[in-house]
């Protein structure tokens, strides 16, 4: 016999591209697009929650009836400043209140003519141990009708909603990844059927299953990376197009945004492309090896 190299050098076997090469990148591109948008959505959601927690959890507003006298306002401020966990209490000047209400009332309204409550902005230490129930009772005894408005219920609701959205986005990403694997596996089966006679010949000539699976898996890796790049480009364009959409939402929390300068966006894009390539490769290889085991 001819002396041959028996190392694990991959064999250059004549396995052609089949029709799956035409549609697989586009299917993978769509899946990467969906998974990438899911990843961006998750990032934005977590950013929004974090920002809301940071800015709102330490903030409260006390609404004092408009008819409260200046002396009672001073008493209220003193009570607040002496309360454990409260860092500051500031009576908002009428001009600032007018600015806050301008979106709803317009600029032509004279606030002094309306029974607008006086607003006190309160800053609390996070986990400062403030007993809000006691504080509410205390304030009500000083100024009946005073209303302490905190954002905790709003935050709690937002957290609950975020958990559900989070679950949906994670499920969408997982489904997209699974569909990538299924698509690549289906394409590999298509390749095997299209080249069955050549593959049987190669097996009869002594080719190892791995030698046949390798070129098909490498081809799936290339198609996966190509499709992934297309999908990632779509995610990038969509993210740019929706860049400042968060500012359109009127929310007590600052809007979250992810821009092209954000490294996390690029991590998502690169991760999605690499995942598409690796999933396509692994799925194709597993499918080919499983199918070859049933052949000669």
């Amino acid at each position: 016999m001819i002396a041959l190299r028996w190392g694990r050098q991959r064999r250059d076997l004549p396995l052609r591209q089949s029709a799956s090469a035409r549609w697989l990148p586009w299917v993978l591109a769509l899946m990467v697009y969906l998974a990438g948008l899911g990843g961006v959505g998750l990032t934005l959601l977590h950013d929004t929650l974090r920002a809301a927690r940071g800015s709102l959890a330490a903030s409260l507003t006390l609404l004092v009836p408009a008819e409260a006298s200046p002396a009672r306002l001073e008493t209220v401020l003193a009570v607040l400043r002496q309360t454990r966990g409260i860092v500051s209490a500031r009576l908002l000047p009428p001009a600032e209140v007018a600015r806050l209400l301008e979106p709803w009332l317009g600029s032509s309204v004279v606030l002094a003519e309306l029974p607008v409550p006086r607003l006190i902005d309160i800053r609390v230490e996070p986990d400062g141990g403030t007993d809000f129930a006691v504080l509410r009772q205390h304030l009500a005894s000083v100024v009946p009708g005073a209303h302490l408005e905190d954002y905790q219920p709003w935050l709690a609701g937002m957290r609950a909603a975020a958990r559900r959205v989070d679950g949906v986005l994670v499920a969408a990403i997982v489904v997209a990844l699974l569909l990538m694997a299924v698509s690549a596996g289906f394409a590999a089966r298509f390749d095997l059927v299209a080249q069955r006679s050549v593959i049987e010949l190669l097996l009869l000539l002594g080719a190892d299953d791995g030698d046949i699976a390798h070129p098909l898996a490498m081809r799936s890796l290339r198609l996966g990376l190509w499709g992934g790049a297309l999908g990632a480009a779509g995610v990038l364009l969509t993210t740019i197009a929706l860049g400042d959409a968060g500012s359109l939402i009127r929310s007590p929390a600052p809007p979250a945004a992810i821009g092209i300068a954000d490294w996390r966006l690029w991590a998502i894009l690169v991760g999605a492309v690499v995942a598409a390539g690796l999933i396509a490769m692994a799925s194709a290889r597993a499918t080919v090896l499983r199918r070859l085991a049933r052949m000669v």
């Binding site: 016999m1 001819i2 041959l4 190392g7 076997l13 190669l202 000539l205 190892d208 299953d209």
Partner: protein, 224 residues
Amino acid sequence: MVELEQIGKRFADGAQILSEVSLRLEPGGFYFLTGASGTGKTTLLQIICLAQPPSHGRLTLFGTDTAGLDRPARAALRRRMGIVFQDFRLIDEMSAGDNVALPLRVTGATPRQIRDNVPELLAWVGLAERGEAPAATLSGGERQRLAIARAVVRRPELLLADEPAGNVDDDVALGLMRVFERINQLGTTVLIATHDLAFARRFGHQHFHLDRRELLDAGGAPVP
């Protein structure tokens, strides 16, 4: 080299193709396997080259019992054989040279090893000038010789040929036989399946005869 013991083959539809076939091929031997169409010659060759499992019986190749072998081990055994298929199984869109190089590529031969061996083999079977021609453009006789060149390019220990002279005229058939005998002289064990008993008898080599699914030797007695 090759030993079959009580080999039988029954297909899924219940058709019994082979029954209790036993034979032994010695290293360096030259054998014919004869029998009318449908007696199981091709099936027997497919069992020997591990393309089909026997329904029962034991097959030993190169001293290895093939029962229960994993796929890498089966592939390793196949690499020690050369096969001339009845339908040639050439890849039509590839050149003659690339078809011959295929078994070398399967075993990871270097480009240099391929360059050193393929032209020599093509010349050996009289296709030196046709190396670049797509296999699809070759005549029937040329395709037959190309299939033989591909089967022997690795200098196999065992060469199986299924009706290699089935579709060619007598002169070409004699030429092919000379090629097989030269391969045999280099140490390769040769087993040729043919339906033409008279053709097999012309060369004086030992032959096995399949009749009604059972194996008889040239004298008509079952092979022990």
